[in-house]
């Protein structure tokens, strides 16, 4: 089975450039555990896919090597940051591809391209060889033509790895059977994910999916996740803070190109990093440096760590009350026009509004196509409980089979 790999996951065979000039032409002398496991299971690494630089973006426009086009409408973006992987699967070039998530970078492009995207529980898949962006949020995920294609790959790459201290000491994921019904499942609908200004077509697609889940036998319940509105701001403190530190290693000393034969090492840093990183990466690294700097740490970083705890607690409260899974839209809109949000960072950040919570809380989540909005695909999201990825996949199988994904909602 050919599997494509996002450009921020280390492979021995191809260049690993993370969509960045600072790693242009970089060949990794080792490969990621996930890639290693895929090869051992007989998969063929089909190639590397374009992404937003270091995974920072929601449109795959922020790649130093050009933007990726939406497979069905060249004027639109495929989402991001795993836009290359999503577009390739949507175009039918490969049945599945590895992507990576920090705030929705697998599920968001999956939704926009009409494919399946899984983000496993934090710690389910080794991060060894995944180029770090926000280490406490990052997970390798899978994009697939179907839940089954994606789940098969996930099952292969999951499981313990002594090289990653944040990877849980667990066996690889068991592939669930396709269930006959969802009898016994309690699915929560968090009201914060259906704001009054939600695109009516997206809402219609979600309503149809919820009706189908109910028809499959699931009990559907309204629930509240009261701290949801703080998720994006919390995310945009923690992720850049971690990124500012994770990206400090790109200094032109040990690998990657140098942008100047400088006479002074500090000048070498400044030109290499100043020219090697693109605008969005620079912006986030600056914001991240700012929120960690002396005098601001408490108001930003420490506070965000506490908000993260409150957000995670919201989910635990709901699951403790007997809810098995949550259903939400994956993205507030279908694919947007290229260039539409490129100059407005905050507007771009808001396209992650429904996905960042699972990363903050470390939970498994999946996006499944649930219909079309004005001809463009849109995904619905299931969020599961930590380490119950298999239960989430079971429900996704059932939903996928029931939903007329190609039909206008």
């Amino acid at each position: 089975m050919p599997v494509a790999v996002k450009d921020n996951i280390c492979t021995l065979e191809y260049v690993t450039s993370c969509g960045s000039r600072i790693l242009e032409g970089y060949r990794s002398p080792y490969e990621a555990t996930a890639v290693n496991k895929l090869k051992a299971a007989g998969a063929l690494i089909a190639g590397k896919t374009n992404c937003d630089e270091f995974g920072m973006g929601s449109s795959t426009e922020h790649s130093a090597f050009g933007r990726t086009l939406h497979p069905f409408d060249k004027t639109r973006v495929p989402g991001g940051s795993s836009g290359g992987s999503a577009a390739l699967v949507a175009a039918g070039a490969v049945p599945a591809a590895l992507g990576s998530e920090t705030g929705g970078s697998v599920r968001q492009p999956a939704s926009l391209c009409g494919v399946v995207g899984i983000k496993p529980t934090y710690g389910r898949v080794s991060r060894y060889g995944l180029v770090a962006f926000g280490s406490s949020l990052d997970q390798i995920g899978v994009l697939g033509r179907s839940v089954h294609d994606a789940a098969r790959v996930l099952s292969v790459i999951s499981g313990r790895d002594p090289k990653d201290a944040t990877c849980e000491d667990r066996d690889s994921l068991r592939l669930p059977n396709v269930p006959e019904s969802l009898q016994g499942f309690v699915i929560g609908i968090p009201k914060e994910y259906f704001p009054p200004d939600l695109d009516p077509a997206v809402r219609r697609a979600c309503d149809r999916a919820i009706r189908l889940l109910r028809e499959l036998g699931a009990a559907v319940r309204d629930v509240a996740l009261p701290h949801t509105q703080y998720a994006v701001p919390t995310y945009y403190i923690i992720a850049p803070a971690e990124a500012s530190s994770n990206l400090a290693r790109y200094d032109g000393v040990r690998y990657g190109p140098r942008f100047d034969g400088s006479e002074d090492v500090r000048a070498l840093y400044r030109t290499t990093r100043g020219e090697g990183f693109g605008a969005e990466v620079r912006r986030r690294v600056l914001v991240g440096t700012y929120v960690l700097s002396s005098g601001y740490y408490d108001a930003y970083y420490r506070k965000a760590q506490q908000m993260r705890a409150l957000i995670a607690q919201d989910f635990r409260n709901v699951f403790d009350r007997g809810v098995d899974l949550l259903f939400t839209p994956t993205t507030p809109t279908p694919a947007f026009k290229a260039g539409e949000k490129i100059d407005d960072p905050v507007a771009m950040y808001l396209s992650d509004i429904f996905t960042v919570t699972a990363n903050l809380a470390g939970l498994p989540a999946i996006s499944v196509p649930i219909g079309r909005v004005k001809g463009l695909p849109i995904g619905g999201q299931l969020v599961g409980q930590a380490f119950l990825d298999d239960e989430m996949l079971e429900a996704a199988y059932a939903l996928e089979r029931a939903v007329p994904a190609g039909e206008e909602a």
Binding site: Y26, S28, L130, A132, G134, A165, S245, R249, L292, S293
Partner: protein, 483 residues
Amino acid sequence: MANRWETVIGLETHVQLRTVSKMFCGCSAAFGAPPNTNVCPVCLGLPGALPVPNELALKLAVRAALGLGCTVHPRSLFARKNYFYPDLPKGYQISQFEQPLATAGSLSYLSPDQGIATATIVRLHVEEDAGKSLHDRFPKQTAIDLNRCGVPLIEIVTGPDFRSPHEARAYLLTLKQVLEYAAISECDMEKGSLRVDANVSVRRAGETALGTKTEVKNINSFAFVEKALTVERDRQIAVLEAGGTVAQQTMLYDSKTNSVRPQRSKEESHDYRYFPDPDLPPLMLSEEFVAEQQTQLPELPAKKRERFVEKYGLSVTDAAVLTAERAVADYYETVVHAGSGADAKLAANWVMTEVLADAKDHGERLRVQPGALAGLISLVRGGTLSHQAAKRVFSEMAEHGGEPRNVAEALGLTQVADTGVVAGWVSEVLGAHPTEVERYRKGETKLLQFFVGQVMKVSRGKADPKLAQRVLEERARSLGDLK
């Protein structure tokens, strides 16, 4: 002038832990490999690589903390210390910040100023070392070797407890002793396995508030600790006496010129932006883990010293010499307990003089078997060997081994205790020194020892000195004079 000023010093000591592999990767931690050969994706800071902590390093760190009487925290955090430097591959050092491994310990040491003193250990934490920058290897270029990068360290921070450079040095030597005893570190400053930075300030005698401190770095040998601190103290006093103020800055010590100079750096480079390392879950240490490390700690020097004083009736100074190194202390106790048991004080004298002197000249090897030394000591006590002769037997055993009695006999050194033979030697000596005999007769009785010495010389060390003295004394008594 120095008397009007009080010096206040605190030390931060970095100690390399005795592991075979690095702190966060499986690379060798050995010293001296060709450049950049003990490196891997993790310690090179390659994209995507992740750290996994070394179990032994944490065990050794906990042992050090327990040895220094610290509270070991059941939960501590690894943190990133962010700064740019070409020998720091990740752009941050993995260390501990807000929640360190251990806090609130103390170390008692023998202060040259005030006797037994106690230094406060404020904190002890684990971290990784950086690589090495070589500035004189190539023209216009700095060469970077990352072999040392990632080697496990502990940092031990004291309170501002020392009142003089030599007091700081005494603490440091005691710390080194403890860490060597417990096999936590080799503590070799020349190899960089022990490094020390000092916070130095001065204040007018009698004041309680601390003066502005500077940090003195680059003290890379024990020999320089006292010198560097003295130079900085004197500099600060001179500044203050001239009506100036001490600037809070980092000073680098240059051993070649025995001087300090300020490190040029921008203010913001000290904003390390510490935050918990998201690659490393909390460091949780169970009670069992900590208790197990306690059982792995040997008796530490201070305890051993006290015991030696009490059990063997030694002076504090002698006990301190004997316990300075674990190997010597163990050797001494073996001598004392060997065979029928040697006299503890005699054994102490032998170990402190002959044994340590021989070790010093022979790469710190204790060449004479403790059992052999015990036998030698009992030969002296039993009168079979003179002390002089025993020293020759010791040297012979050190070079060629052997049993003390056999060696003494082979060398013909066994003492002659036959009164007739000794009396013959005494007559010979008295006849050869008429002037001294005359002086003795006139009352210069202390010349008796001179005559004993001469008898020993004439007998080539074989005469039993006690017997010789008795014969001399009898001769004097019976004749009223020596004629």
